[in-house]
Amino acid sequence: MVERQHQHRLVASRAFIPPLLAAGFFLLLVILASLLNGAGPVSAIDVLAALMGAGTEEALFVVTELRLPRTIIALITGMALGLAGAILQSMTRNPLAEPGLLGVSAGSGFFVALAILWGASTTTITAMVAQLGALAGCALVIAATRVQGLGNDPVRLVLAGATLTSLLMALTSMLMLMDQRAADEIRFWITGSVAGKSLSMLWATLPFILVGLALIAILARPLAAMALGEKAAVGLGHHPGQIRFLITITVALLVGSATALAGPLIFVGLVVPFIARAFSGPDIRKTLWLCVPIGPAVVLGADVVSRLIAAPAEMPLGVVTALIGAPVLLAIVRAGRMPSL
């Protein structure tokens, strides 16, 4: 009971509220930017007029039918990836443990490529396929961290993930070579994008995301206890094995859903918790709360950039997130924060 009150105070402490509000405000700005800007001829002023009810029918259509769905999908994707990264990093005590870097997204991507090869189309891919791939990838990662010595070696884990990713990418390339017709669809899909994705996919993945969020709500406290060390966690009445299992499921649910929605986006799960931790410190619950506005802001911001830099075409979102994320990776290395956490 005392423990619980203490934790509540932590969440509500003063130093934590301003960054949360600032991140929320920033997110609103990005959402506005996303609705106002696109690769097409509908300008920000047209959109504002349309929102006031005085614009052209074209502008209203572009905003409600094209920009709004992708904005929503980017928001959900960003939140799911950010949270998944945060809990995976907390559990493995490795600030580089990012689902994309560790091969979870690539596992998901490989399964989807297989499904396309076997006759599915980008629009008929069920969320289940991506979930399955993510689960397989995630289970591999968690199993790897359990290998003696590896859990304490962030670099080896990341390198193993990078190797797994390149292996899966090579296999995906093989699939593309074997079927030229499927190649275009697969190539489009594996670069990651939120453009033109229908909201029906969102409805298909929403249950999984909600279960994932609920699990996070349940797991936040045990995770914080685990951060004190496994013995401390056991002392506080938690079961580390059980928690690890649940976290594996949670990460798979979130990453699988995000991948089903937008394709594999690497580095998001690295950048979001990295920014969040800069404000929250090591407390996982604060970090998780901050990830809720920061994750969507990062993905949506990247999407706005992807629309603007190549107009009238669009840059794949996955390329933009890599360009944003890789320097953050370098910054983490440079800061020498690696062994901590």
Binding site: G40, P41, T122, Q180, R181, S193, G196, P312, A313, E314
Partner: protein
């Protein structure tokens, strides 16, 4: 260096010629070589070649149209065999590579006595192929309304079947006139604007007005408008984002898909609200066509096939 390279060239060709001779028997080989003007200068060709390898879809089309014997072809773009429209005529023709990547060993294995190559074949590739058999690379300017006709005449000259080629071209021209009459009769002049688009998963590509099939549409009376989306000398625009879909909208939209069944891709496209808003879609003026034929092929047989499809599309619709 140059001389060293030349010496085995003759030998290799002679040995292949000898192989061919052993198959077809000595015939009209005594005739003097004819000189064919190509992008890489005049090329001597003996009599009527009997084993032709075509490294370009337009060349396969012409070869079959003039009833010469093709013994090797490249796959169509995005497929794994020759294009569907020509499959029945081509039969089980051996595949010797993709448009961008020729398997030279497969060309050798086909034992050709003439190679018809793609326009823009690189000098390096040309030199390599010339060691196997005479190589014809068209020097006709690309993206012109009569590019295919010039190429057909050139290939036919190399094949020694110019008369057959003239007959086919005459047939094509009369068909063009027929379809042009139909267009004139059924579509008011103000409604003949059209665009040709290739549907890709990452977005539609608006094709150049100089493209082969676009020039046929123009020949029968449509006005192709690509809204300045296609840069000079490029075959198509960059993929349009969904927000810019309206820029490909005209009264008529000819939508090509490389997928085996264009309907599936179209069904997917129709789910996108941006797509169903197009005027051409709302007015049932969207015509789905086979991308292998419309955006990859070339040659007289392809023109005839395309004309048939235009005719069917117009007659099937309430105008």
């Amino acid at each position: 260096m140059k001389r060293c390279a030349k010496a085995p060239k003759k030998n290799l060709r002679n040995s292949i010629t000898a192989l061919v001779l052993s198959v077809i028997g000595p015939g009209t080989l005594q005739a003097d070589p004819r000189s064919v003007d190509t992008a890489y200068g005049p090329v001597p060709v003996y009599s009527q070649p009997e084993r032709v390898v075509t490294l370009y879809e337009g060349a396969l089309d012409t070869t079959l149209a003039v009833q010469a014997n093709a013994v090797g072809a490249v796959i169509t773009r995005g497929g794994s065999d020759v294009a569907d429209y020509i499959k029945a005529r081509a039969g089980d023709i051996p595949i010797v590579g993709a448009p961008a990547e020729t398997n030279i060993e497969a060309v050798i294995a086909a034992r050709p006595d003439l190679i018809l190559a793609a326009p823009r074949t690189s000098e390096q590739q040309y030199q390599l192929l010339s060691r196997i058999a005479p190589v014809i690379v068209s020097d006709a300017p690309l993206f012109q309304p009569d590019s295919w006709e010039q190429q057909t005449r050139l290939f036919a000259k190399a094949l020694g079947r110019e008369d057959a080629a003239e007959q086919v071209i005459a047939r094509v021209e009369s068909r063009i006139a027929e379809v042009a009459d139909l267009v004139q009769a059924r579509i008011p002049e103000a409604q003949r604007d059209a665009s040709l688009v290739r549907w890709m998963p990452q977005g539609p590509l608006v094709m150049s007005a100089g493209l082969f099939s676009a020039s046929i549409l123009q020949a029968v009376g449509f006005q192709i408008d690509n809204n300045n989306l296609v840069k000079e000398g490029r075959p198509h625009s960059e993929p349009l984002s969904l927000e810019n879909l309206s820029r490909m909208d005209q009264t008529w939209v000819f939508l090509a898909t490389l997928n085996e069944d264009g309907d599936k891709a179209l069904t997917a496209a129709r789910q996108s609200p941006a797509f169903s808003r197009l005027n051409a879609v709302e007015n049932d003026r969207l015509i789905t066509v086979n991308g292998q034929l419309w955006t990859s092929a070339s040659g007289p047989l392809a023109v005839l096939a395309i004309l048939d499809q235009i005719e069917t599309a117009i007659t099937a619709r309430q105008l």
